[in-house]
């Protein structure tokens, strides 16, 4: 598959009064054409910062690229000037934000807000742009678009506003669409509608999506591949099935165990103990070691490299080192692994390899 975006060894810091916060500490991933990559992780894991870095939307005064590249069609986005970046934003890469209640300008009609990127990036007249806007609104399922383009954001509901934000993001048929927790601020029924809409749209227009969320249910629903982030690093990356049914990193185990599920009988939901690391003083070894039941001595001393599990799946944990002791994952995870061909617990007929 064709790579459309390549993030290599990305390191980014924020300069604060307290000191340098290393928000992203070496992130690597590729985005292929037409796929949906979900980035999951808890608050502060660096998932939003990573995507804002791709869009170069972080404040220039306080953030700094320390290392690495973001290659988009061969261009390194970290090296572009602000002017060059403005030509890419909204045209080639666009973004959907978390809270539709605050992400639209309250004093501008929604028609004008959707029209803005069209007039900016495409060579069309205002009348043509207006037609595009109406088509876009119809595409995202807004009834009576002709009448509604003259209205202001406060005249729309939350779900409708998110549809408008999506219409803005799609205005120039972007190659990459970044969705930063697009359903977090919506109630559950509207969440489902918006997810349905996004899946539907991806089929209609050929775009790659980076989907940020902390909701694993949403991930299972929309993603092709999943990257799990923790403490400013990706700790595990693979296809949806690999992450859900053959997870290797103790953090992924923790995440999956803390997801409520219909087929477990346990009454108390699992919670990962402890708090995320303070990235003002990032830990030396595996950032998750202090919260992990499976930590080894080396986890505290040296950060683990990526170990390949399959061609599409790799995880950064010392547990995958040939010399590491074999550990038993939590019970819920073993249950999951039993369903995955290729896992050592597989109970199917094809037989596990371990």
């Amino acid at each position: 598959m064709e790579k459309i975006l390549e993030v290599n060894d990305l390191e980014l810091s924020f300069h604060t009064f307290a000191g340098e916060v290393k928000a992203i500490r070496g992130v690597n991933f590729d985005l292929h054409k037409g796929e949906t990559l979900a980035i999951v992780g808890e608050s502060g894991s660096g998932k939003s910062v990573t995507t804002k870095a791709i869009m170069r939307l972080l404040p220039e005064s306080s953030s700094e690229f320390k290392n690495g590249q973001i290659l988009f069609n061969g261009k390194d986005l970290t090296k572009l000037t602000d002017k060059e970046m403005q030509k890419i934003r909204g045209k080639d890469i666009s973004m959907i934000f978390q809270d539709p209640m605050t992400s639209l300008n309250p004093t501008m009609t929604i028609g004008n807000q959707i029209m803005e990127p069209i007039l900016k990036h495409r060579k069309v007249s205002k009348a043509e742009a207006r037609k595009v806007v109406i088509d876009l609104l119809r595409l995202v399922g807004m009834p009576k678009p002709e009448a509604r383009i003259k209205q202001y954001p406060h005249q729309f509901s939350g779900g409708q506003r998110q549809r408008i934000v999506i219409a803005i993001a799609l205005a120039c048929n972007p190659q990459i669409l970044i969705a930063d927790e697009p359903t977090t601020a919506l109630d559950v029924t509207i969440q489902a509608q918006i997810l349905e809409l996004m899946k539907d749209l991806q089929k209609k227009i050929d775009t790659s999506i980076i989907f940020i969320t902390h909701d694993l249910g949403v991930v299972a629903n929309v993603a092709d591949r999943v990257a799990v982030m923790y403490g400013g690093k990706i700790v595990e990356i693979g296809t949806v099935d690999e992450i859900f049914y053959n997870p290797q990193h103790p953090y992924t185990w923790g995440l999956l165990s803390s997801m409520p599920s219909l087929d477990t009988e346990v009454e108390k939901l699992y919670a990962i103990p402890g708090t995320p690391p303070d990235l003002l003083y990032p830990p030396k070894g595996d950032a998750f070691a202090l919260r992990s039941d499976y930590a080894m001595k080396i986890d505290l001393e040296e950060a683990p490299p990526f170990f390949k599990v399959s061609d599409t799946h790799s995880a950064a944990t010392w547990l995958l080192h040939p010399d590491a002791p074999k550990v038993e994952p939590p019970l819920a995870i073993v249950e999951r692994m039993k369903k995955f061909p290729g896992s050592r617990y597989y109970e199917g007929t094809e037989g596990g390899t371990y």
Binding site: L57, D82, I88, S94, T102, S103, K120, Y152, I168
Partner: protein
């Protein structure tokens, strides 16, 4: 909108009526009368004069008469200025005050917005600190102190403008306008800076940037209008501040304005002019506040003014 305006106009008349009533009775409650100071008059003469002006009648009758005249647009005649009609006197004096007030407000608010924008867009730089400094000066130094400084430096030392003379046309209005502008300038620049900083950090500005908008578009197309909303709210009180501020400034620069006349009339117990000027100031304020409300709705679509329901 039409319904809103009709309703507001009715309210405006009620407000005006209440102000007129309150001022009338408060004034009557003051000791002394325009004539009592003229001790040379014999009791007979005094009675004749009082009868002429209707001051011998009971206060409710005087009130009813005054209000009836007021309804017909007649503000009565002055006691001290040889019986000239109050309306004429106010109109005579209105020009200079209006020129000063408008120039002061426009200059102050425009410069204030400019300073505030610069401060917000160049946050935590020398520009920002400079703008804060100007605002602090503007707020903490009373306009009459500032006026004296202006007179000393630009009129006495540099001889660029007249010290206190209303005869050189526009040149005479420069220093007093600047003195008047300092307050609004400081207020406007602080309001705009605070609001711009907040607006620039809002989600819809990030969205505007993510559409590919450049710095200019972000600041003026998206942020400015939203940052204006709180400033519009204080425009009414600001205009009021200019009116009261101009009383002192007109004294300092010897400007034959309405404020100066007002002060003189109070000294002389000139009932009809006090009433007339107060009513004029009130009417002016009521209209300004009304205009501000309309402006508010134009800037912020969430406050589109309807008569309760759409």
């Amino acid at each position: 909108m039409a319904k809103f305006i009709t309703r507001r106009v009715i309210y405006m008349f009620i407000t005006f009526f209440l102000i007129a009533t309150a001022t009338f009775f408060l004034m009557k409650a003051l000791p002394g009368s325009p004539i009592s100071s003229a001790s040379k008059l014999s009791p007979t003469q005094l009675a004749i004069v009082e009868a002429k002006y209707g001051l011998d009648q009971p206060i409710p009758v005087q009130y009813a008469k005054y209000m009836l005249n007021l309804a017909q647009g007649d503000l009565g005649n002055s006691f001290q200025f040889k019986n000239a009609s109050v309306t004429d006197l106010i109109i005579d004096r209105l020009g200079p005050s209006m020129i000063l007030g408008t120039q002061g407000l426009v200059l102050g608010v425009t410069l204030g917005i400019l300073l505030g924008m610069i401060a917000a867009l160049r946050q935590n730089t020398i520009w920002d600190y400079g703008s804060t400094f100007v605002a602090i000066i503007g707020i903490s130094i009373p306009s009459f102190v500032f006026a004296t400084f202006l007179q000393y430096w630009f009129a006495v030392k540099l001889e660029l403008f007249p010290v206190a003379l209303w005869k050189d046309g526009w040149m005479s209005s420069v220093l007093p306008s600047i003195a008047l502008a300092m307050g609004p300038l400081a207020t406007a620049s602080r309001f705009i800076r605070t609001e711009m900083v907040e607006v620039l950090n809002s989600d819809y500005i990030t969205l505007a940037k993510s559409k590919g908008a450049n710095g200019f578009e972000v600041a003026f197309k998206h942020a400015f209008r939203n940052a204006l909303i709180p400033l519009v709210t204080v425009l009414g009180p600001l205009a009021a501040g200019l009116l009261t501020g101009s009383l002192v400034i007109e004294q300092i620069f010897a400007i034959p304005g309405i404020g100066e006349q007002f002060v003189k009339s109070i000294m002389a117990n000139d009932f009809s002019i006090i009433m007339g000027t107060t009513l004029f100031f009130s009417a002016f304020l009521i209209v300004v506040i009304f205009l501000v409300d309309v402006l508010y709705g134009i800037i912020d679509p969430r406050i589109r003014l309807s008569g309760g329901k759409d």
